[in-house]
Amino acid sequence: DQQVKQNSPSLSVQEGRISILNCDYTNSMFDYFLWYKKYPAEGPTFLISISSIKDKNEDGRFTVFLNKSAKHLSLHIVPSQPGDSAVYFCAATFGTASKLTFGTGTRLQVTL
């Protein structure tokens, strides 16, 4: 049972445009969400996170939105740059648990 789902395996966006990556979850216990970025042959790196007490968190070009009633979060990248081309993983956790549950990832390609 996939508790964190990323239904779009891939996304292609033109440079300068907005990239929107989506993530859905089923476990209502989740109260903290993270996005990781992964380049080929490297480990994932932390990008941005959001607590369930917020509905938005912004860091430069990256903004994460959380809709708890819909159990949905999204990552917006504006403007998209070629260096943003990578696989993006959504992850969730709850309470004092240290474990993260990851989605299957979305491959973003930013074209010139």
Partner: protein
């Protein structure tokens, strides 16, 4: 070098062999994790450790063994490798500064079981 390292980076082994993947971190982080990454499954937790000598199962622990005698090391052993264990394995660590402390990942080990 500071950070989190994994060795080997690439490994080919035969079915039935025992193989150990190494993970070392220099931050003295309490928590360490092992994940495997497979197409269509994302990252799945195999085992994790909250401190030296404390380990617990994750989502897919069968066929794997871990130990943590020192804070900085967290080896993962495949006791009798199977083809289904062909995967990319990532080690991660995090501190104890609350839930907002993100995990830091190593570069991964690509394991092929023939």
């Amino acid at each position: 070098d500071a950070g989190i390292t994994q060795s080997p980076r690439y490994k080919i082994t035969e079915t039935g062999r025992q193989v150990t993947l190494m993970c070392h971190q220099t931050w003295s982080h309490s928590y360490m994790f092992w994940y495997r990454q497979d197409l269509g499954h994302g990252l799945r937790l195999i085992y994790y450790s909250a401190a030296a000598d404390i380990t617990d199962k994750g989502e897919v622990p069968d066929g794997y063994v871990v130990s943590r005698s020192k804070t900085e090391n967290f080896p993962l052993t495949l006791e009798s490798a199977t083809r289904s264990q062909t995967s990319v394995y990532f080690c991660a660590s995090r501190g104890t500064s609350g839930i907002t402390s993100e995990q830091y990942f190593g570069p991964g080990t690509r394991l092929t079981v023939t």
